[in-house]
Symmetry: C2
Subunit: 365 residues, 2 copies
């Protein structure tokens, strides 16, 4: 397959971790006979400095002609006092809005080798493998809002269509995962949640292979701690998803390793690490590139339909961690830590090793 | 002091645990020369059965002439299919609304003897001692809401005055605790949160002895897991408080032991365990009365200003648990469990022992 990938390195450690992910993608292209063309654009602080906008037209155009976008991270102290429109974070909001990326996918998967870093007891965190599907372009954050002298209000509004498309995404994802959807709402109190629940009930008929449960948001916030491995796909509206996805991100102790995707229905999507731009370690070559590399794997799976290739990357990352290879953020006291480049090369070696063992299997068949 | 306490046992294990709490309150009255008068009323399913309403006028009247209300629990399978207005839970909403109880206090304190039951690593859960102060009568749950064929909306609205009174409560509580308030909002997105933050900033001048920090709700949901002992008083609006207080309730592993209060500014308040009515164990005399007893302690502290008496109860409960006395829900495998009454008597013995050692101290002074 031939695919064009727009790479937006952004700020801080963004350039270092996207470089690592691109290196892995190039290896994947070679091994699996794909052609990946990379185009580069500016976003965030880097774009503000060069083009006076956190999401300039040049970048929008480059992304618009690509099949998917890989983003590093944005932000840093240099721009912290900028006016609201010239903040790096606005670049993220702008790109999601510009491309109508309404579904935010946040997988959280326990890495056995890293469970000691979880705030949860290891037996609670082990086996966690969930995906939060958050509606990203509607709800309370985008509804009508206003302020009078003594009052302020925000409006949580959803249309049947907005709910339908995100719920369908969740069902489709569950179908290729463990076949379970937990729909989270506050239907005992909110009108918007009652509509949400109604749409889920309507949609489920088309997915007889998927089990559906409804859970109230407060109860879900508890269960993410007491029994996180009970979840497969969790689908919810924007604000609940904001809170729950951040809560879920810390339960396995691998926050710095988490990838994310923001997609729409036609396969186009934006892939980026959950972590920030790490200004304190930027430029030192010691950032952990795992989240960016795993975001690239999500791109292969969700935008290009390359399941085998995505799984190969995920397996290689897991193996390298199990072998005890660590960047500084994860190194045990006294243990040697690898640079970003060294760690990436371990992943690449591992991918090569996996490929070799496949070749051997073939030659014996 | 003479005080009248309205007792609303409610459903399921409610009568058993309130009986235990009343027994402890009677001992406190005797030992500290108070006079507590107890009046009894129906609420929830029991009130539906007898008087066709989950919060009948008779109960409202009895509570209205009392200084505080002690409630057990409401609900059970018997009423699960009732129409919405005849659901036991409506009784809770009705009593809070009837008396304008706008401040919900949810303390979470680690019990060293129970840390093994926490989903968190013991070193994370140890030392947790926080209080979530949730606005209970405004916000998204009570704002204008409606439904059209294809849309639904809810409105999150707050007035400056609604925010002021709950924020003042939080500052007053922090003053007699560890002097720190974390105000939780989503001020980077919501107008109502920006007003909230403004009011907190205005109010803090009057409390120079209290440290204030602002935290975004998604970040707070993470920190409650990664660093829960960093919190003292957390104040937030209704919906965020709903989610965060339930999340916080599970971190120490003592969910069944948690008390709560719903108060207003004049000292009148409703005190109830966080746990439910436990229909599966109701009537067996094995329910854990700790949450009800600790709710009674909160009543002494917040409605009657009896700090010494409240602290004596809390200390006795802690000691009894440390001595290994457990009801069935907390008993270790193979360990003997006490009945509700036996466990309550242990607390009473302990209160007597504390009193005796005080008497001895006095006699030596
Ligand atoms: Mg967030
Ligand atoms: Mg709740």
């Amino acid at each position: 397959m031939e695919k064009t990938i727009a790479v937006l390195p952004g700020d801080g450690i963004g350039p270092e971790v996207t470089r690592a992910a691109v290196k892995v993608l190039k290896l994947i292209a070679r091994r699996y006979q794909h052609e990946f063309n990379f185009s580069y654009g500016l976003i965030g602080g880097a774009a503000i400095d060069a083009l006076d906008s956190p999401f300039p037209k040049e970048t929008a155009d480059a992304c618009g002609t690509a099949d998917a976008v890989l983003l590093g991270a944005v932000g840093g102290p240099k721009w912290d006092n900028n006016p609201s429109e010239l903040r790096p974070e606005k670049g993220l909001l702008a790109i999601r809005k510009h491309f109508g990326l309404f579904a935010n996918l946040r997988p959280v998967k326990a890495v056995p080798a890293l469970l000691s870093a979880s705030p949860l007891k290891e037996e609670k965190a082990a086996g966690v493998d969930l995906m939060i599907v958050r509606e990203l372009t509607g709800g309370l954050y985008f509804g009508e809002k206003a302020r009078t002298a003594d009052d302020a209000y925000d409006t949580l509004v959803y249309s049947r269509e907005e709910i339908s498309r995100i719920v369908e995404q969740a069902f489709e994802l569950a179908r290729v995962r463990r076949g379970k959807v937990t729909s989270v709402d506050k239907a005992n109190v909110l009108e918007s949640s009652r509509l949400w629940r109604e749409v889920v009930e309507e949609k489920k008929a088309a997915y007889p292979d998927v089990t559906v449960e409804h859970q109230l948001v407060d109860s879900c916030a508890m269960k993410l701690i007491t029994d996180p491995s009970a979840f497969d796909v969790v689908v919810t509206e924007n604000m609940f998803g904001d809170i729950l996805s951040d809560e879920a991100s810390v339960i396995t102790g691998s926050l710095g390793m988490l990838p994310s995707a923001s997609i729409r229905t036609d396969g186009f999507g934006l892939y980026e690490p959950v972590h920030g731009s790490g200004p304190d370690i930027a430029g030192k070559g010691i950032a952990n590139p795992a989240a960016a590399i795993l975001s690239a794997a999500m791109m292969l799976r969700y935008s290009f339909g390359m399941e085998t290739e995505a799984a190969a990357i995920e397996e290689a990352v897991q193996t390298v961690l199990e072998d005890g290879c660590r960047t500084a953020d994860l190194a045990e006291a006294g243990g040697r830590s690898l640079t970003t480049e060294e760690w990436t090369d371990k992943v690449i070696e591992q991918l090569d090793a996996e490929a070799v063992s496949e070749d051997i299997m073939f030659s014996y068949m």
